[in-house]
């Protein structure tokens, strides 16, 4: 069975500072990896995904994540955060051929003006 660990439950960061949200996964088979964002009182929106190919994936709003197979990690980064990035971020993993998406417990990113 797969599992996901998000090491930080809360990350406060000042506006325009860089941020990294950490995600590690555990699986005995190949995986697909996802980051979802949840703004207050809303559903989850896909931020970016790693399926195959280049290990560095980017979103349209400046986030990027790098798949590191040896460290079983998929950390999310942004070089300069905005107030509007304040949200809960969820890392998720799906093993190939599985029906099931397993989520981490989420990291609350709070951007301080």
């Amino acid at each position: 069975a797969q599992s996901v660990t998000q090491l930080d439950s809360q990350v406060p960061v000042f506006e325009e500072a860089p941020v990294e949200l950490r995600c590690n996964y555990s699986s005995s088979v190949s995986v697909y990896l996802f980051w979802y964002v949840q703004y207050p009182n809303q559903g989850l929106q896909l931020l970016l995904k790693y399926l195959s190919g280049s290990t560095l994936v980017e979103s349209i709003n400046g986030f990027e994540a790098e798949f590191n197979k040896s460290q079983t990690s998929f950390h999310l980064r942004k070089p300069s955060v905005h107030i509007s990035d304040t949200a809960e971020y969820f890392c998720a993993v799906m093993t190939t051929g599985s029906y099931q998406l397993t989520f981490g417990k989420g990291t609350k990113l709070s951007v301080i003006p």
């Binding site: 996802f34 559903g43 989850l44 929106q45 799906m94 051929g97 029906y99 998406l101 989420g106």
Partner: protein
Amino acid sequence: DTAVSQTPKYLVTQMGNDKSIKCEQNLGHDTMYWYKQDSKKFLKIMFSYNNKELIINETVPNRFSPKSPDKAHLNLHINSLELGDSAVYFCASSQAAGSNQPQHFGDGTRLSIL
């Protein structure tokens, strides 16, 4: 043109009542899901249907019963509501079970039990 829509958005009711939450997706997806998000924001899969067939049925009380009249709809019926059922319930859909395509989520139904 909402992709995954849930109704109602808020549901406040008393212990012991029976309630339903409806979900519809207009993405043409084959697979639909129900998740429960607790007060600590932890998301847990409850059920999944692929082309109206149940494929995931996690450890959920029998009081919860999903129903899929067609592949665009997955409703959740809850009998004899308990205080611990208070949570946000999310419906989601994806192109096909076992594919690598991401899941699309509705905005959630906030269930509060008095």
